[in-house]
Symmetry: D2
Subunit: 436 residues, 4 copies
């Protein structure tokens, strides 16, 4: 071990750091736990970010002993290989700028990217690690201060397009199964200076170009949009799942895009994590997940490692209902708290997250096997399978028929049965705590 | 004057209660102020609700001296005629259950509605008052506790459809130019007991039936959906403008529906009022407005009379940009605070709201005539009219061309000009306070 | 069984409704579970409220077959006895107006209260049930629309004082061990019409009078203030624990008052439940608990039955650290969701809450016995027990000495150790899921 | 003009950038506008911060052409002198680390501070500029990651104390009339690792030491605490005005401390700006103001330049009621939006803020002169000046007397008069728009 002062974490064993729930080879519903969960390490939080916040500088160096920029980025790659190996994580995700430094010109930047992505790809492949998805960082550089695909300047749009093109190429080169758009600056600060219609049309143009190019060069994976309502931008166009789905439908992009749902973005938008996942699922665009946890009393993206088994259980329930991941996975877009100022804390963070989701998977499986929830829902809507319900669903009944039916039927309150929320919450608690 | 202890309110004159800004005949941009604003009184808050809240009973009786139910409802109609006359308001809006009591059976309820709507229609028409829109109350009765168009019980759905059918008929009979759906119970309390896909499909079925029926019986006005994210329901399907537009597009209802945007619902969904209006406008579904104001520190729908001229100005700017109201108008879905326990306070509330929007109209007009904002926005996006910008918009440029362009162009930061938000806010403040 | 269609709930057995965790006689840290938890039924939610909300009428009758007012209130008392017996709950809490109807005059109201409280007291005592606390409802009646102890009208204040006097008498008569002030209307809607200084002084006067009277008539229990930041009032003076403690200190009431902390009120004020409990504890005013759960995405008091074992664990950890309840207990100020429209759902709700807190108690006990958290905290602050830390605490060190120390000490970053939040969260998850 | 590409801003004249409302020599209530408002420039936002946010680097260099650190800090001082002169601002505020760079040791840092504060003090004094208040930055450096006065490490506490000592000395040297404590890191991330009682006691020790030292070296000005509920810390101990007042009272610090109220911090705590000011005023600790504006839909401190005249009016109403500023003033703790990427935008920002508060002052004056609000409040509480109200206030009435009074009085609802919120809001709107 070179960078992390830790023995390999053992599964369900007696080592100092151990998993309580995660057991990669354990079979659940006919599939190994690790294939259900497809855990990924987020390159930016794990090997790049040093703990700076708006009121303080970094507290945890991530040069890994490197000195020159190139040296540092190579060592980050080595650390990533070691770290994922230590934890038994098989996937990773990155932005273009996470893995190679920006040069003096776009050409130089692209050369950096070519070289360092080769190095990264090789070292990760050697350890059997796969790229879950790649993306382009279109928000950090000042040139993107007013947006990238929605920039008021066409030159900036062109620059962004060039960056996306390159990022897709790198993703394809490294065998990535997904490519993500998170539009951190795609939105507005104030409508006083904004042409919202043009900006949204332009965004659709960028996405369309990207898909066409990706398919041309042989990308078979999924494109994703990751909704977020705000931060850094006051209003982000990809507000939530429903908004993004509406946008994709409007611009005829529903066939190529799925959603990458982030737990903390869901709550910032006023939704539960489960709601965003269910919305994606019933619209056929469930794709991948950024697994983390927000603080419901704080109004910004805290990207905490998830410890809440309730959220993880309801998330995995949606994943199982959606048929599991195909190209997607659970990427820990999470960071240790700034006060956790050692590399070892990152191990604790990942263990926390992995165990939480492993437990969530088992609880979701127990809920499905138990059947109480599904049975209740099935019974609750049974009136839609016969009689007037069936005629409504088939489109046979017109409103006059329904009016006549209601007039003759008398009051319908007797057809209303309790929704039994408290009973169902008892069931969920029971499943969570009984599963082993 | 029978019910309201007040002289007729004079416009810009010296009476005790007077308008400071609202002058119905004053011409702005070639149209009378009253035709720009199309103010409407909300029947429910103004002539029905008595100030009960979750922790206290009513404080302000609205029987207007009536004794039997029928007597009371007739007097409400008379009070409505007097009240709107006193304030110079030309429109009103109602739910079916606001204007007639529910009977022992649906047939009896419908008879009540027939008779009392005749009485109301006559008395209002006599004073030159018009119905802005009607709607059905599908949330108060226990039968709708789990939804109406999204009820788990098909019988409840049928009952709701019958009620909608009748409400459309009454709306048409009274010459209403709009019909609203606000789905207060159309959503869920918990996903544990909910089939969200079926519920949303059913909602689309109800809307489709309603449109078909309305058109069959000659309704030429607009159907509206009024978004709200929550309350009373934990999650409402018509979360916000973008969500509703996506839903309408999915179910091919965009041609018949526009949006009724409420200020307080906008902020509950995490948006500004202006954002929701702009979203409706650029998607071609701007329809009508529920004018009120929320308290940004309270998490529920407070439905306050609007006093904030900033919001009113930005609202009227959107209305003017959208070409003004056609069938819609400004309905005061607002109530006096519970502590304002006299009928006279209602006059103060309406004067507050009407003056605020009259001022907002004048300020919006001043902003448009001044041209600073439009000029700034036009100049900000000028790169989209020539060169690479123009090629992107026309679809000629593919991503390779943009990449080549960016590689040769060098950094594009020099094309990024200040967004000048503070300057623009200075302009807005100046226009608001300089208009007379 | 008369009112509840249920067999007696069995503990840890095979009946349809059973407790998974709650086992009243089980001994934890030398005390029976039931004596740790001191569960109470809230009379208002359980035997009075019928499920009305701001958009709908009641859905679940609570007349229990009664016809006249007096009959109804007697049957409520019988139902309360039966219900608490069914669940094995030993305590109950009420407002004066929950247990007897308001009459035409205060004298009549007081007579109603005398008679019906006798009936209630007898029937509850017969079943071994005890009054945890009583209180006066100073918010529902229109006379309190602008406050009670903070009313602009001195007559209203006097009326409120009379009501408090009587409620204390009834509490004493029934052997209550606590008396609560929750000031739902003690605050303001707008500062434009409010003399905040006078209102707060008057509130202190009411509390002082109440304490003096209570002690005069032999009340030995605790007076409590229950903080809440808002709702129904826009701003409530008893905003949160820190605000109330500051108020009590200012008006020299800290010796007689403790706090009744409600989980949902804590989160409405922007705090965790644990934070409010810890604030009370370290200020020596931990008293009693209103156990429920809010919905962090909704901005009002939802008063849900608690299902979240995390919150319950951290709550019980604070209770144990505070030395357990003396006069207080866990009152379920919780209501079943409106869609849970049967009396049987109330059993599910209470079981949910009781099991959640029973589990929380066991997990808190496991955390204390494990010692990881306490050891970590002890070690984290060890520098305060020797050297410069010790001199600072004792008051010996002045700032010049600290400056010299710092100048000579060099940088102190090396003294900063990781806060290890993720490790500690792993510990908590482990304790919660390992306890049996 | 050296750094700012602008002519001197003229007051109420025809230059490109002009004030619409601010007229420094205009007399209001017997005092010059500039002496009412006492505007201050915040050194950190204006001459230091470069527009970085959590997702992007700086966009607006603030080296002012300097090259070496010392050169840069001298030029910042020159820019500050020029900038405040250009706008006619008489005060400035800083953190120690804003005006001089941190050296390799505390001694070196202190030497930097000595030299550069001399330079700054001279150049500002030359232009007639005064120091409103100074403070120490106890949050940016990694050593303070877990707090300064509340650090778990006593060494860190000592270092913080040394820094405070020096910052007070510099403040005194430059003639500052105030010294502020804003405890950005004084709080906790999680209670799992926190000894809240010890941390709060230690904070009180630091404040006590600072006061004693300040007084010893002749500081006659005010010490302030600036409340903020969160950010960067999850929970900050100085949550809001009421919490801080309670803390000061507990630790006997009320005589030496006043509050520095920030508008954006108020709203983050769930309060209006006016509420926090009124709370400070009625407790005798109104001190100074950080003037800015938050975005009510964003959950973090946005520190926007204030444009909302409503807030400014209600703020200035409180300032006037408090008797105006003594040692305090209006410090613009505000930053231009990141998209406003030129130095000239800063002029627009300050003009926006200054005009907003100048307008607010005039409107507040109009409200006071008009008397409608004061008259209404006076009349509303008139029952407290005679009869039973008077006996309650004087302490003569005991609860038995009040009970007898209420029993004999009959219902008191007739004593409840409307709170007339809508009328009062009409008055405020009228005053705001009528003042010139």
């Amino acid at each position: 071990m070179k960078y992390f002062n830790s023995e390999k974490i053992t599964f369900k064993s007696g080592a100092q750091r151990e998993f309580l729930w995660y057991d990669p080879e354990r079979v659940v519903q006919g599939k190994k736990m690790k294939d259900h969960l497809r855990f990924a390490a987020s390159y930016w939080h794990t090997f790049v970010a040093e703990g700076a916040d708006m009121f303080g500088t970094g507290v945890l160096g991530k040069t890994f002993g490197g000195t020159s920029p190139e040296d540092i980025y190579r060592r980050k790659a080595e650390a990533a290989a070691e770290f994922t190996d230590l934890l038994g994580i098989e996937y990773y995700c990155f932005h273009d700028r996470d893995i190679a430094p920006e040069g003096k010109s776009l050409s130089e930047t692209n050369r950096n990217l070519d070289e360092l992505s080769d190095y990264l790809g090789d070292i990760m492949a050697k350890g059997g690690k796969k790229l879950l998805w790649g993306t382009a960082n279109l928000f950090n550089n000042p040139r993107y201060m007013h947006g990238a695909g929605t920039a008021p300047s066409a030159d900036v749009f062109a620059f962004a397009a060039a960056q996306v093109k390159k990022a897709i190429e790198i993703t394809v080169k490294l065998g990535g199964s997904g490519y993500v758009f998170w539009g951190g600056r795609e939105g507005y600060e104030t409508l006083l200076n904004t042409d919202m219609a043009l900006e949204q049309e332009n965004m659709a143009r960028l996405l369309t170009m990207a898909v066409e190019y990706g398919r041309r060069i042989g990308f078979k994976g999924d494109f994703y949009i990751e909704p977020k309502p705000k931060e850094p931008t006051k209003h982000q166009y990809d507000f939530d799942a429903a908004t993004v789905i509406g946008f994709l439908r409007k611009y005829d992009l529903l066939n190529d895009f799925k959603l990458n749902i982030e737990a903390n973005h869901a709550t910032l938008a006023g939704h539960t994590f489960q709601h965003e996942l269910a919305t994606a699922r019933i619209n056929g665009v469930f794709g991948s997940i950024d697994a983390n946890q927000g603080d419901m009393l704080l109004g910004w993206d805290t990207d905490e490692f998830p410890f809440d088994v309730y959220d993880a259980t309801l998330c995995m329930l949606e994943v199982l209902k959606a048929g599991g991941f195909t190209n997607g996975g659970l990427n820990f877009d999470a960071k240790i708290r700034r006060g956790s100022c050692s590399l070892e804390d990152m191990l604790d963070g990942y263990i926390l997250g992995m165990d939480t989701f492993a437990h969530g998977l088992l609880a979701a499986d127990a809920i499905i096997r138990g059947g109480e929830l599904d049975d209740f829902v099935k019974s609750r809507y049974d009136s839609w399978n016969t009689g007037i319900g069936s005629r409504i669903r088939s489109g046979e009944a017109v409103i006059e028929e329904l009016s006549d039916y209601a007039l003759s039927r008398g009051d319908v309150l007797s057809s209303v049965r309790s929704a039994r929320q408290e009973y169902l919450e008892n069931v969920v608690n029971k499943k969570i705590y009984e599963c082993k």
